[in-house]
Amino acid sequence: MRHGKRLFIATFLVPPLVLYALFVVSPYVQVFQLATTDWGGLSPEAHFVGVDNLRRLFADHYVWNALRNNAILLVVMPVVTIVLGLFFASMLMVGGRRGRAGVRGVRGSAVYRLVYFFPQVLSVAIIGVLWKEMYAPNSGLINGALRAVGLGSLAHPWLGDPNLAFWCVLAVMVWSNVGFYVVLFGAGMQSIPRDIYEAALLDGAGRAATLARITLPLLWDTVQVAWVYLAIVALDGFALVQIITEGGPGLRTDVIGLRLYSTAFGEAKFGYASAIGVAMLFLTLSVAVLALRLTKRDRVEL
């Protein structure tokens, strides 16, 4: 029956592998080839230009500007998201101090858990449009709320202010991601034995100490995964930026994904855009490897 079993496995394995090769691997390979041409994307004609695109890439200050924004995202966004996610998750799971015994979440944690997850249910396009209107200077909810409570002096033309626009977009990214990590960390915490928390509680550990000394070390694997995911999100950021600011004002919120897109579809330079794509691929790979390396720690065995 061995043979039959292999056949059985193969029938399940081959179709997805073929699809993967067709729709994922082959476009990747083609991008490498296109990156060495001056293909304009509107005719089948293309000329081999070798590493010209790469050379152009290094001298392109628009690309560097976008990369700088991605770098800031890469540093700030995962940290803020993970810290917030851990904080919320631990409050929801073990933060409650009501009653004498038992480890539980704060009052109403079931409701919070649901609310935090809302952004995750919305598509990124809806989130973008939603926040674009929230930030609108006169009709937007944020300035409206500020004015309603007498803080009109804090009202800003958020997305129109070059010093604020980028942070506004970053805030939306954190907002839309944090819910998922609350759930992820929450699930991780569920696998931590209750008696450890109870022991800590008996020893008089506060919330902060519990989070730093118990939850975080035991959740490290999950945090590591979150770090890699968020780093990849930070290196992209295309969809939200494209919808909320289109890179403006004056390219101050430009990101590398948007640069690639406008180079290809806006300026009809598909060859050069492919070169940007290739550079982005290697960048993302190295960041992922780096994130895994830097966060490597000895596993705590339970």
Binding site: L34, G40, S43, G160, F265
Partner: protein, 478 residues
Amino acid sequence: MSAPSASDSSVSRRDLLQRATAAGVLAATGGGVLSACAMGGGGGNDKAAGGAKNSANPLGVSESAPLEVVIFNGGFGEEYAKAHEAMYKERYPKAEVKHSATIEISKTLQPRFVDGSPPDVVNNSGGNQIDFNGLVSQGALSDLAPLLDAPSLDDPKKTVRQTLLPGALLPGTYDGKTMALNYTYTAYGIWYSGKLLADRGWQYPKTWDEMIALCRQIKAAGLAPWTYQGKHPRYMSWPILSAAAKLAGPDILVAIDNLEPNAWKHDAIKTAAEAYYQLAVDGYILPGSEGMDHIQSQTEWCRGNAVFISCGSWLENEQKAVAPAGFQMAVAPTPSLTKGDKLPFEAMRGTSGEPFIVPSKAKNVPGGLEYLRVMLSRKGAADFTKRVSSLTAVQGAEEGLTLPPGLQSATKVMKASGDKTFNWVYNSYYRKLERTLVDAACGDLMTKRINPAQFVEQCQRGADEIARDSSIKKYKRT
């Protein structure tokens, strides 16, 4: 409308992925999986057999060849095109006319251009239009000369070219060859509510000093004198360039279009920038404008919170749902900067817009050209004006129609401007220069982050960058 409003559609990441997948499929069908190339084969180009050319059929259209038309489904919708298609069908009952409309022209059609099977007529417009520099330099478009030299449908003694408004072909012409037909005719000026001005007893100012004086009055009355499309600040480059062209003559625009060294540093442009910068310095701009997109700011203007706004004549259609009854939308030329301006106050920017193209690899090129000839007939043009309240590039096609107030006003000022009407086309030669570089400079100027001297500096830097970039094809005009 469409052409100048960039944010009329947003692209989701999923769309992009779909596009990538589409390219993958294209490649996979082109040959072996890994050896294939997204650039396709370019084959399969079986052209429809042409019909015999004669005086009744000057373009040699085959009676039975199918025709495919793709329309940008923007501010003008698609109903007008269905009417034009019906007119084509009337002439060629045996031809099958395929119609489709999309707001994502580039994403929908780019693979078909690569594949060598583009539609016969494309309304290449909107925020996601296909870059014209790319289309032209890659030989993807048919020269429209045969159409322009063919007799018009209404008067066989006049060629199609002779029925068009002066200057209407300029924006679609690259190195002397007309590759795109810009169908609508747009007046660019400063817009106001006729009712608001009349109610308050204000007069539209003819000079910039009067404008500043009026702004002072308006502000004292508790209104904001100006607003602008903050997230697309290039809208403010239009009055600046217009005022500069009126000050020093339209030759400075030719220099800009031709990317001549220091074209932007002309004194007139700096003077004009100083004038509009004054609005920001004196606080005559509605607070928060810099954070609004075109719809948001134009809506503030319609609500009467600001008095003046720079726009083109698609504004009326765009704001149809918001403008209150009796608003009396009206447009006027930019105020003269000095007494010694080279062009009179009446001179303003008029340009054709809404480009239609016939791809060179289309199956039915004669049919595509004939379709444009139908559009440019008096009947076709009048029908368009009636449906979407926009003028066309066809002379006098609007005569006898009742026009809404904004369009009436635009028609009147365009007539007054007459042969003093000017235009620039650097935005269609080099899309990025206006949409990204000049745009950013205008944003910085109107929020006082840079001064007028830095403004011209920054614009010039952008133009120089384009001029230096060997991967961008350059065009010249006179």
